[in-house]
Assembly symmetry: C2
Homo-oligomer: 719 residues x 2
């Protein structure tokens, strides 16, 4: 048993247990959790202490006294049809009134009323304190009001409160740090807190100031009006709007945020204005965040940030993350891509993962975890097997758990499992310290609207948007021996495909940020990609790559990929009657047909030069094509599975003309993957499945090994 | 056994058989078929004779001598990428060279070369008689050539020749009647022919001059480049272009027909230019067609037109069909909607149906019909049951068969079945002569891009485009006791919903002519429909009604229908968690779930005012909603079946607040339908299925009857 690199959630009242488990799991750090306070016994045990803090909801007494300094956001009223020439609209109708109120002191200068049928803003309307009154409405047109709401319940507090039925426990409110008064109150609070916590070594900030957008409705059947990890709706207020105008020379209006009620979710291609707003907000978050970090440092403590909840404006892949001065980045992980998202952030020293399951009675879906009938040890093994693939590729510095430690008491198998996971983690970490694992060196460029800002993610967890093929592509790539960067469509349009990319992947649905939307109408973008592939590059298109309506092709890259999609506008055109090519390098490891639950239907081959490898009837599922000097592969969707990961890897090798790389380090069972640490002369094979496996794998020198591995197990060989 | 109203295909060499079958089937008319010549014995039997003639392919010797007067059309070359600054394109590459040639005498004035990547037309290029040469190409852009091709094989001749392997039989060519020389040759030929056929009473023109668009490729794996019953591609030639410019004051270019390679199929919303071209062509077809009809009349013969093949410019629902002066309209029918399409044309006296199966050895799909193993009597019964529903609603004047009579010799059951069908037809026809059948009086307006021009059809047979819900809606309505008209989106935009419509149906896919496309961005269109429904009207939206991207709603009528579609742009927005309403008037006759093979997924309810009646998981399949004074129903798709027809009927009754109409004349078995002829006091119940049925039905006076009906049978009761 090894020690260290493990953060344990301590619990007051369970001092003995805390210290016992610290010993068992090799913890070198004890943290508190939301709602727990560590006792003096734990604090004095000589083990470094992590303390969590969420600044913006930490000064509730002050917030109650200063409602003008609460956070705000724009909301759009329900559309209401004019039956005659006058019309009244209650803007708040349908919204959760414990989350939102209209602050009369804000006035209505920032409000807008739209005729959504005619598409025009109204110049004249009245507000009586309850309703917007419109005279001279056009009968049978629908009208909406964009209004500025004040938020009176911080969303995470609200969610935990309502989910756990906390009754009359205080509703915490999020203060708006744009105001100098708020900044002073926050820094005063932080200063006091730092003084009061001499035992704390690491201050773990539950992100910074602005929660991801989470707008609730009043209806129990429609809780979420909007929920997005990457929207900046909650950063808007009269002061920020004013400062933005001063800095950027133009004014953002409510409608720029409301966007016909669609807002600006990460999954849609961003407007220039919205990107300006993000940059503007990021600069502020970094600037004031730095002040907080500096204050923490001034007390000789470290500052870590938890990359969740109030992460808006943090953007660890913005290239400016270093400005915060954080010492550590902590990411809660369900999946391998989230581990890569954390590990790849260069501007921070310590990368830590918070593993699942959390020490909570129930899991995400309400299933028992630490309750009778629960098997947290199985959950832990399964989550670990998901994440471990990534840890074989890149180094993570620490792992840890969250929640209430006493819950583990009835689950000794869980405690044993965590002990073995912690050991396994420390072993893998040591391998990385000796040298890098084998990589094909293939440099994948994920081509989407956001570029590097959304490296390794589409914002959010896999289970929130399993319909997005790019989520699954990220997950598959996270454990493969390839390099990854994200490239924006705008930069390829302006400057061509970057020189450090061997293969481009565009994976999305028509019009979304991952496919790209209207930018594909641009000739330079298309030409730069045609050129890249024609000169020997590689392209993988997934689902509806570069898809725009009413263009020469439906897929802008159709001529490269050799496929296009029938969207109803070409039903009279003949479709090439392809013959399936059954035996091909790319599909060699598929046992049956390829299966993507997010596949697009209606994809057809342009002509006989497209080699169709898999199809659902007449719908192409997997195809490849030579395009002048380069190669392309098309997949009609992509969902993470062992077989599909292998399919993607082979597609990458084929597209990059690196087929020989499949000759070694590829276990014959697709449930297994391996890593080879040449400096350490260590071959590691992992079993990603829950069943025991026996699999063969060759090292690059041609020697073959047989690994017998228990379910979710690991096999290590000095070679 | 009754007599009359039946057209028999006679066959030379089978004189006895011809006369026997004429007797058996009660034929009052004998026709020839393509490839058959009637003998003197038949001609002299005293039975009126139909003769078929297809003018444009009738003067092949002349056509060979006058290739400048052959029909032409624009084609687009394959897109070719420029690897450097020069590029050569072979325009004909990929096209079937037995159908198309480039006539050097036409020159290249009408050609266009496009940079399809940049989207611009080139001003400079050269043609060397084989290839188009481009200098100063932009490397990595794709280029295409629009060129004028001459057609050297008339498409129906080509199809029959190739399908039946006619070897060195002459290839017939279609002449271009725009040229005065051609008109003279055609009229001379027709005059001679009329002289030579004194026994002929009815000249049946196999439509007029221009075939539906049918462009073939050279590849055996991609026979059709484009195939559409409603495209006007084959009406273009140097002379028509010149005359168009003179008449309309602007010039149509090749690209107006090529349209980025998409052409102008009926299934896409038409451009103003293309509608002008159709009107221009129609005027010519009617004008020269009238000359042909007049000539036929001058010989004391009748002129019927067969509504298929070369029907371009005929358009029996244009409102100008009467200008031809035809005496009869013949439609070959697989389905009920085709019978309605024929029956509803007012400007002609005789409406005749050509029933399936044709007397050909094999059926459409190559299955044996009049070959060993075939059961033509079953086919006949099935086709008849499909079509008969329509005949209970409206009067058709004649039926008949086509093909080679001798094939029936081994199939006495078929001959008996036709005899009984002919009797049944004559019985139904007599019922109509006594008075009209019961109708709810509900006036359905089919709302699409074309308006009345495409009444009762989307151009083409059901089996060609089963993916179109409107095809199936037409088929279901064809047997229901409702009235139908088609209304164009343009007219509703300009003048509102016509006063003679009770319920609008919009049924299509995003962007197609049946849904409507971009016109839905227009405020007046939406407002007029909101007003219509709000004031008590009814709306049924099917699949993707009024669907346009990047608008306030994805479905323009979303606020009326209470549903919208997730197209990937609103994945962060919450969706109302509806509860299914199981017991409802609309879905009362569904035994299980509604099933549409062309359903759209991702449709969700806006809020709790939408009553969801059927769903596939979280995807709405059937929903209804009160919208101010009116009602709406949404269906996620529609395919014709007995249950779905009942579902549609009930949806119509509910939407029109006519639920009481379901109390009578609705057999309790959905496979059965009934008609009630009040003047004749006759209740008719038909069994549309192949199984025997026992079903109850009430007359409007509340009396209940039980009908026992054999498969595909009919039950008649004087009441």
């Amino acid at each position: 048993m090894t020690k260290g690199s493990f953060t344990l959630p301590g619990e007051s009242g369970y001092e003995k247990l805390t210290l016992e488990m610290a010993e068992k799991w090799g913890a070198d750090c004890i943290r508190d959790s939301d709602g727990t306070v560590l006792s003096d016994e734990i604090l004095g045990a000589g083990i470094p202490i992590y303390s969590t803090i969420c600044l913006v909801r930490s000064i509730n007494a002050w917030a109650k006294q200063h409602r003008q300094f609460l956070q705000r956001n724009f909301l759009m009223s329900k559309p209401v049809m004019a039956e005659g020439e006058t019309l009244e609209i209650d803007p708040m109708d349908g919204y959760f009134d414990q989350q939102f109120v209209i602050n009369p002191d804000d006035g209505t200068d920032l409000w807008q009323v739209f005729d959504r049928t005619g598409g025009e803003e109204l110049t004249s309307w009245k507000w009586d304190g309850r309703r917007v009154k419109i005279e001279n409405a056009v009968p049978y047109h629908f009208y909406t009001v964009n209004f500025l709401a004040t938020r009176i319940w911080e969303e995470i507090s609200m969610y935990n409160h309502i989910t756990n039925d906390w009754g009359d426990k205080e509703h915490l409110m999020a203060v708006e740090p744009r105001y100098p008064e708020t900044q002073k109150a926050l820094l005063d609070f932080l200063d006091g807190w730092l003084k009061d916590h001499p035992h704390t070594s690491v201050v773990r900030l539950t992100s910074m100031f602005y929660n991801f957008t989470w707008i609730w409705c009043s209806s129990p059947r429609l809780r979420d009006y909007l929920s997005d990890w990457g929207s900046y709706d909650f950063t808007v207020n009269p002061l920020s709007l004013k400062e933005f105008e001063k800095e950027y020379g133009y004014r953002m209006k409510g409608e720029d945020f409301i966007n016909m009620g669609r807002h600006n979710p990460t999954h849609n291609p961003p407007t220039k204005k919205f990107r300006d707003w993000m940059e503007f907000t990021g600069a502020f978050v970094r600037e004031f965040g730095r002040k907080c970090v500096d204050l923490i440092h001034s007390y000789g403590k470290k500052a870590y940030v938890f990359y969740d909840d109030s992460w808006i404006g943090i953007e660890p892949w913005s290239g400016k993350f270093g400005e915060f001065g954080f010492d550590g980045l902590i990411k809660c992980v369900f999946n391998a891509f989230e581990a890569r998202l954390c590990a790849g952030v260069k501007e921070v020293k310590t990368h830590e993962l918070r593993l699942h399951p959390y020490l909570f009675p129930t899991g995400l879906g309400g299933e028992p975890t630490f309750l009778p009938g629960g098997h947290p040890e199985k959950d832990a093994a399964r989550f670990w097997a998901c994440v471990r693939r990534a840890l074989l590729r890149v180094r993570i510095d620490r792992i840890g758990l969250g929640g209430y430690l006493h819950l583990t008491q009835g689950f000794p198998e869980f405690n044993d499992k965590i002990a073995s996971i912690a050991d396994e983690f420390r072993f893998i970490k040591r391998l990385h310290e000796k040298g890098k694992p084998f990589s094909t060196g293939i440099r994948v460029g994920i081509l989407q609207s956001w570029g590097s800002l959304r490296t390794w993610n589409c914002a959010g967890h896999m289970h929130e948007h399993p319909e997005l093929p790019l989520n699954h592509i990220h997950e598959a790539l996270a454990g493969l021996p390839v390099e990854l960067k994200s490239v924006s469509l705008e930069e390829v349009k302006k400057s061509g495909v970057p020189g450090d990319v061997d293969v481009l992947i565009n994976a999305g649905r028509e019009g979304d940020a991952w496919s790209g939307g209207d930018v594909w109408k641009d000739a330079a973008l298309k030409t730069n990609i045609y050129r890249f592939v024609a000169e020997g590059g590689a392209l993988i298109g997934v689902k509806e790559p570069g898809c725009v309506r009413n263009a020469f092709r439906n897929f802008a890259l159709s001529d490269v990929l050799g496929v296009d999609i029938e969207n109803g506008s070409t039903i009279c055109k003949g479709k090439y009657d392809f013959e399936l090519t059954k035996d091909h390098f790319i599909t060699k490891d598929l046992k049956g047909e390829a299966s993507f639950h997010n596949a697009s239907s209606g994809v057809y081959a342009l002509d006989g030069d497209t080699v169709v490898l898999d199809a659902d009837g007449k719908d192409v599922r997997v195809a490849c094509r030579q395009f002048f000097g380069g190669r392309s592969v098309y997949l009609s969707g992509f969902t993470y599975s062992f077989e599909n990961t292998r399919l993607l890897y082979r597609a990458l090798l084929w597209a990059c003309r690196r087929e020989e790389a499949a000759d070694s380090l590829l276990p014959d069972d697709t449930a297994c993957e391996c890593a080879y640490f040449e400096e350490g002369k260590t071959l590691v094979v992992i079993n990603n499945s829950e069943e025991p496996k026996r699999t063969c794998v060759k090292t690059p020198d041609g020697k073959e090994y047989t690994a017998e591995i228990e379910g979710a197990g690991i096999w290590v060989k000095e070679v």
